[in-house]
């Protein structure tokens, strides 16, 4: 006993804020559980505190008791003890408001106890309702109250029900005007048992970390409103009222309510309100401009009619009425045609009956209208609607085949006729519609379509028709691959290369269908190794398909077609027929096919394949074209493969060549190799080699080639963040004072179009290399600029051209002086255009700097817009001026008159495209501060 005596003073001596307080209470509970200490003893020991006249002491005593109770298991207290405690707690609820929170904490464990006798819970709850005004408590205490009520309803449902209206009144007064989102969320989740419509007026505070949005609340409230069928009589009129209001959100909420209500609400209520609902929603669809709202309205109509279709005759009558109302709008030139057509489509999706009825009523009308309309755009809208309704009809009535019904039967034949129409748009719609019907078309009708399709595949068409043909082919291939394979096999391409290209394109398009991949690739590969002319066409398409689906296709090509060896052989056989100026695209294609197929091979396979091929091509070392095949073989090697590379040879050919395409390939390849060279010594050796050769090139009038090699070397080093980078960049900066191409080379630094330096090709790319590079170069330019170094402005312009916007934004403040100088001095129109484009984006994003320098920028922009020679630049400047019109009024007003005056000169520009932008700019500036 002594031991526990010590313990109780331990607890009572602690303050309630002490972290050890809760711990001490829990150990008291443990001793009660292990029967070292009795609960009656505890109450007795706490007596002086519990009955103390000081409020704080009473609070402490109660809190200790409550916490101990919380830690006790549900079955430890017997009913006499509980009886006593309950009576005590009921009285304490009437205590000073400071004590009440401590009392509230003890309520939940009490009612959770198993031995609590009948009537005690009611007593507690009544006391709570009587003495504690819930909404005057703090948020956590309110939460405890709700938890308490919830526990009571879970555990003592029958007893609670017996309270009847008192309970409902008590709960409602407790939760009424609750505003805290956390409590609201709890209540909404719980209330489906116990609903009260709570007026929502809540804005989430920005600082709250656990922000609950209005949507969360609305979403949680909706199931409450729809929880019981009997709520329907209140909810549906409420929804109608909200739908008629002007508020966008109210409309969306009420549509949600109507949709969710369909689950529980009785159909009778919907029937009762159906005509009002229909007219309100119809009006909304006809007038609303918002896509989301319109979509939601249409969904609601579908749900509504689905609900109503449980009463067959009623739904039939209503659908008929709707059809009669909307029929009049079905003239394709009427403004209400499109919304009416949408409504009809949504209603037909509701059930098999509505689909049936609408299809039978509307389709003859549409077919008739289609036949008498002449305008192509109208014809295609009608056809689309007809096909939509047919698809819905057939999907919802799975027993019916398309050939069973009179009206459905004609739809495919209308589409087939449209496919051979003279008008492009109708042809396109015909093909698309027929492909949408794919699942419903009979074998015989499909054959007609295939006849057309095989003719269309090899016929040159407008691009939209061509796209429709290809997508139709894909859709049919997915469902009927054997049929498509057989038609593709039987197509003849006698009419020259153009039809061959179209044919191969179509064949390539089905490569994504697993059953057709092998077939499709075998045809493409066969053509790649045909005559040079067919190879040119086929290689382009094969390369394209490879790029779309690299890993699967390249695996297939290596395993089943031994593509690498065959390409190299083919290349060697035809090397004398190749001319880099004519066949550049083709050579690039085959190099890329090699690169991509090798990319996915394992290290050992790569090694074996590449060493074997290098052996074959060593006889053509002196030929320029050698570089291209090396590009294909070496670019995608994994870094650790053991393949010896002769860098000397590549640099020599690249610098010496007279074909600029070859030097492009060579420089990219060199960049790739330098980037992937792991060993530091080898790297130094290779760099020295390149430096030596390029120096010679610069002296011997191979300046462009040498600069290209230098720039790709610099880029390769920059990407791997190598310490040599700046030495090479410096070379370029110095060269640019003499040669424009050197300044231009800075463009490629951020240009991701060089496939060769991709990480896909196992190049080493460090994080944030772009940012690091840009910062370093900018720092150098800004600190070393003086009036004699105008080429720095050019370099900056070229750098800006491709640098990612977010990086530019970070550095902008530093370089803004140079940017402004560039706008006023630069004479290279490409550079000027690049700078304008970059600055325009910054103006669009309303960067603070753009606002701070508005006067300077506008001054240069207006000058460029009126006097610059190139129209491209005048247009770009005018676009910037347009964007500025959205800036804060106080910045714009002082400048408005000047801008309008200057712009009036641009209205008479000699180029129409410039005038168009000037008009736009002037209109916008006119509206600044104008009444609107």
């Amino acid at each position: 006993m002594d031991e526990t005596q010590v313990k109780i003073t331990d607890v009572t001596n602690l303050t309630t804020d002490d972290p050890k307080f809760a711990e001490a209470c829990s150990s008291l509970a443990n001793s009660i559980q292990s029967e070292k200490y009795a609960i009656t003893q505890l109450v007795q020991d706490l007596g002086p505190l519990l009955t103390n006249t000081t409020i704080a002491d009473r609070e402490k005593g109660t809190l200790i008791l409550s916490l101990v109770l919380t830690h006790l298991p549900n079955n430890i207290l017997n009913s006499t003890q509980l009886n006593f405690i309950c009576n005590f707690y009921s009285e304490r609820l009437n205590d000073h408001h400071q004590v009440v929170p401590a009392v509230l904490r003890g309520l939940i464990p009490i009612v959770r106890s198993e031995n609590i006798s009948q009537g005690l819970s009611t007593q507690l709850l009544t006391a709570l309702f009587q003495y504690v005004p819930c909404q005057q408590q703090q948020q956590p205490d309110r939460y405890n109250i709700y938890q308490f009520i919830k526990t009571l309803l879970d555990k003592r449902k029958d007893e609670m029900k017996a309270m009847g209206l008192d309970l409902v009144y008590g709960v409602i007064s407790a939760i009424d005007s609750e505003r805290d989102p956390r409590n609201l969320l709890f209540l909404f989740n719980w209330l489906p048992n116990f609903v009260k419509i709570i007026e929502l007026d809540f804005r989430p505070s920005a600082q709250d970390e656990h922000t609950i949005t209005r949507e969360n609340l609305a979403d949680a409230l909706c199931p409450c409103l729809c929880a019981l069928p009997s709520f329907a009589d209140l909810c549906i009129p409420l929804a109608i009222e909200k739908l008629e209001s002007e508020l966008y959100i109210a409309k969306l909420d009420s549509l949600n309510l109507l949709i969710n209500g369909c689950i529980n609400f009785p159909v009778e209520t919907y029937k009762q309100h159906s005509s009002v609902l229909w007219s309100v929603i119809q009006k909304e669809v006809f007038t609303c401009k918002d896509r989301d709202l319109e979509r939601r309205c249409l969904e609601t109509l579908t749900c509504l009619f689905r609900k109503l279709s449980t009463d067959c005759s009623y739904s039939k009558q209503l659908t008929k009425d709707v059809i009669d109302t909307l029929k009049g709008n079905l003239r394709p030139d009427a403004i209400l045609y499109i919304p009416s057509a949408k409504i009809i489509k949504s209603i037909s999706q509701a059930s098999s009956e509505t689909a049936d009825l609408i299809f039978k009523e509307i389709s003859p009308l549409l077919i008739n209208m289609y036949n008498i309309t002449t305008t192509p755009s109208h014809k295609s809208i009608i056809l689309q609607q007809l096909v939509d309704l047919t698809i819905t009809y057939l999907t919802l009535n799975p027993g019916i085949s398309i050939d069973d019904t009179e009206n459905a039967k004609v739809v495919p034949s209308i589409c087939l006729k449209a496919i051979i129409d003279a008008e492009t748009q109708i042809r396109m719609t015909g093909i698309t519609s027929f492909s949408h019907l794919a699942l419903f078309i009979s074998t015989a009708t499909r054959r007609y379509f295939y006849d057309n399709l095989s003719a269309l595949i090899v016929l040159k068409q407008e691009s939209i028709v061509r796209e429709a043909i290809i997508s139709a082919l894909k859709i049919y291939a997915a469902s009927y691959y054997e049929e498509i394979q057989s038609i593709l096999q039987n197509i003849q391409t006698n009419n020259g290369l153009e039809s061959l290209e179209l044919y191969l394109n179509a064949v390539g398009s089905v490569v994504g269908v697993p059953q057709l991949m092998s077939f499709s690739l075998s045809i493409l590969v066969k053509n790649v190794f045909g005559t040079l002319d067919t190879a040119v066409v086929a290689a382009k398409i094969l390369n394209h398909k490879l790029e779309e689906n690299e890993s699967i296709i390249s695996k297939h090509l290596i395993e089943n077609e031994s593509i690498v060896g065959r390409i190299v052989d083919y290349f060697l056989q035809n090397i004398n027929h190749f001319n880099i100026d004519i066949h550049c695209v083709f050579l690039e294609s085959i190099a890329k096919i090699l690169m991509i197929t090798l990319r996915y091979a394992e290290e050992t396979t790569q090694e074996a394949l590449v060493i074997q091929q290098l052996e074959k091509i060593k006889f053509i070392k002196s030929n320029d074209l050698h570089i291209i095949i090396l590009y294909g073989l070496l670019s995608s090697l994994r870094p650790n493969t053991n393949v010896s590379i002769n860098i000397n040879e590549i640099v020599n050919l690249t610098v010496e060549t007279s074909a600029s395409d070859i030097s492009n390939f060579g420089s990219e390849l060199l960049g790739n190799i330098i980037n992937k060279t792991v060993d530091e010594n080898t790297l130094n050796e290779r760099l020295n080699n390149i430096e030596m050769k390029t120096d010679i090139g610069l002296q011997h009038n191979k300046i462009k080639n040498a600069i290209k090699v230098i720039s790709f070397t610099a880029k390769a080093l920059a990407i791997r963040a190598n310490s040599h980078t700046f030495k090479w960049v410096n070379k370029l900066i110095n060269l640019s004072s003499e040669y424009l191409t050197a300044a231009k080379a800075f463009q490629i630094m951020f240009d991701d179009a060089n496939d060769c330096l991709y990480t896909k090709n196992y190049c080493k790319k460090t994080l944030l290399y772009k940012q690091k590079f840009f910062t370093e170069v900018c720092d150098y330019l800004v600190s070393n600029y003086d009036d004699s170094k105008k080429h720095y402005l050019l370099i900056l312009g070229h750098l800006i051209q491709n640098v990612p916007q977010n990086i530019l934004r970070i550095e902008l403040k530093k370089i803004i002086r140079l940017v402004l100088l560039c706008l006023s001095y630069c004479e290279e129109s490409d550079v000027l255009f690049a700078v304008l484009t970059a600055v325009n984006v910054i103006i669009e994003d309303k960067e603070q700097l753009a606002e701070d320098f508005i006067q300077e920028f506008l001054k240069y922009y207006l000058k460029l817009a009126t006097s610059e020679k190139s129209m491209k630049i005048r247009i770009s400047a005018l676009r910037g001026i347009q964007t500025y019109s959205t800036y804060p009024l106080y910045k714009l007003l002082p400048l408005k008159q000047d801008v309008l005056m200057t712009l009036s000169k641009c209205l008479d520009d000699k180029k129409r495209l410039v005038r168009k932008e000037a008009v736009e700019a002037r209109s916008k500036w006119f509206l600044i501060d104008a009444p609107i």
Partner: protein, 153 residues
Amino acid sequence: MELENVNPNIYSKIDDRLITLEEEDDDVEDEFDAREIFDLIRGITDPEHPLTLEELHVLEESLIEVDNKDNIVKVLYTPTIPHCSMATLIGLSIRVKLLRCLPARFKVTVEINPGTHVSENSVNKQLADKERVAAALENVHLIKVINQCISTK
């Protein structure tokens, strides 16, 4: 307010003007033509509907004349119904839009397409009267509506 014409016919818009090689050539001078003027004003919206004057066939390219040498632009427009009370407002919107978007050298005339409106003459007269147009633009409510019509595209 009750709409005068609830379900007007709408017509498709013409495609955007194709940019020709000459237009992209810096050295060729492009003259103003009817299509350019049409492009300036076809996006003006009807005060009653959220539709453009082009979609309602109030404006048509064939009813616009341009004389570059003599600096004359003449626009005829067709109200959707003969007793349309918005006819003057539409005419005024076209005038204001052209006033802001054409070089000052042009003399602009905006008139109703003959025979398409009951009070054609009086509307034409109002639109031709510079002082009345200027006075109308002083009216805050009026300029507000006009700004709305010509600002949305």
